[in-house]
Amino acid sequence: MALVNIQNLTYKYPLTKTPALQNINLQIEQGEFISVIGANGAGKSTLCYALAGFVPHFFKGEISGEIEVDGVASSKSTLDEWVVNVGLAFQNPFNQISGAKYTVFEEIAFGLENAGVPREQMQSRVEEAMKLTGISNLADRSPYSLSGGQQQRVALTSILVMQPKLLVLDEPTSQMDPIGTREVFSVIHNLTQSGMTVVMVEHKVEWIAHFATRVIALKDGSILTEGKPGDVLTSDVLTKNGFGVSRYTSVAREAKKQGLWKKEKLPVTLFEAAEGFNRNA
């Protein structure tokens, strides 16, 4: 059975006219690394909120259809029951950091404290999680004294430490430099290898192509297309609908018109592009 099962999900925020999500059907197996792409306003964050239970439990509004995680329906669950299974790292880490803690270490322990985890376990879990995301050196700093990229790592760590079955990440690398982005992607990749299921909203197409097992493209609250990264990220449907694609894809598409790209399939990554162009030489 799929870990996540979304059936005919339609949702409208309070006081809005058009639904933010329309008739979403989606099954996610355990261990998948799903990347959600789409323009701003396409419904990416709302889908994250729905998976995390904030829609509708926190935001209210009108909902129809159903979301199940590990066989439990969102509609029959309360938010505090739901968060045991699903963790969400917010798009803006500033909105997530509690403001109640003086140090990064305490901030990361906050969720565990609320879940009543014994003190000894808590300490070792926090230390382990910080090691995993490479922020052990920030343990004694104030969460508010950190750079955007560092805050994003703290936000991610404070969710990881909860060991959710489903990890939902809303643009977790948006404020990071390339090395930070690479590290976060490889941490997430390793987690999925050990069985964690991840849904990640991300604009960085090249990284998605390297690591994601499936890509879901949202437009105006509906799923426009989905499938393997190499297929979805090179499809004409995306360009026609104003999605950004990797420079490798767009240059090869143009080269193809001029007879300079001979392969049928367009590249997404550097390696695929180099291989394809080399063959022509």
Binding site: N40, G41, N92, G148, Y248, F277, N278
Partner: protein, 264 residues
């Protein structure tokens, strides 16, 4: 209006030495991108341009103004600064009031204010959102409001701190258009960015910072072709530059047009 930076050192009260002797001249009308890893000193450097930070030693002058002798409010007439996070700068109840705030405070005439505000709203495609509360807009549109409110001040120098983070394809194009319009008007545009493809496509000069010092400074092509040196500050060359290198193209290519020409 030139920016002159002479042997600039800056140490934060915590003892962190963020800038260790930076000397640069940025000429009027240049489009400059500043790149480098988190913690390289990019934001610390540009915050000296509008006086938010004052040198620990060395000097920064904006035209004929030494920044230590002018207030931030005064410097705001010469240097506009768009924050990385729009929520740190927006406070008005609607978009129009927000965008009018800057030029009003600079004491321009009513006609000039109206004209500047109108132009800023057109460039940022906000003309249909003037009555909306900025906080009812999505984060990406809030970013455009932040941009508009600074552009409307008509300063000769405009600074963008990470303008493209978290922005979708359409909004990145919008921001590129704004930069092109500013260039046409002869303004100096200085942008901090991690988005190296955006940098390659929109800027003439690139300054790479590492560990509080200037690592590289030159034309976009010169700087972004230095793969090994850039690696010291964890900057990857643009996607097509890397591809060109892998294919052993003779020249450094930085955009699609150049790449296609080189492989013909």
């Amino acid at each position: 209006m030139n920016i002159n930076i002479n042997n600039l050192h800056f140490t934060y009260p915590t003892g962190l030495e963020a800038l260790k002797g930076v000397s640069l001249t940025i000429n009027a009308g240049e489009q400059v991108a500043i790149v480098g890893q988190n913690g390289a000193g990019k934001t610390t450097l540009v915050r000296h341009f509008n006086g938010l930070l004052k040198p620990t030693s060395g000097s920064v002058t904006i035209g004929d103004w030494d920044t230590t002798k002018y207030s931030v409010a005064k410097l705001a007439s010469r240097v506009g600064y768009v924050f990385q996070n729009p929520d740190e700068q927006l406070f008005s109840r609607d978009v129009l009031t927000e965008v009018e705030f800057g030029p009003k405070n600079l004491g321009y005439t009513k006609e000039k204010i109206d004209e500047l505000v109108k132009q800023a709203l057109v460039w940022t495609e906000l003309t249909d959102k003037t009555e909306t509360n900025p906080y009812d807009l999505s984060p990406t549109w809030r970013k455009m409001v932040a941009l508009a409110s600074i552009i409307a001040m008509d300063t000769p120098i405009v600074i963008f701190d990470e303008p493209t983070t978290g922005q979708d394809f359409a909004n990145v194009s919008r921001i590129a258009n704004v930069i092109a319009e500013l260039k046409k008007q002869g303004k100096t545009v200085i942008t901090i960015t991690h988005d190296i493809d955006f940098c390659a496509e929109n800027f003439e000069r690139v300054i790479a910072l590492s560990n509080g010092q200037v690592l590289l400074d030159g034309t976009t092509r010169e700087v972004l072709g230095q793969e090994e040196i850039l690696a010291q500050t964890y900057v990857d060359p643009p996607q097509l530059t890397r591809l060109g290198k892998l294919l052993n193209l003779k020249e450094t290519v930085i955009n699609q047009q150049e790449f296609l020409k080189a492989i013909k």
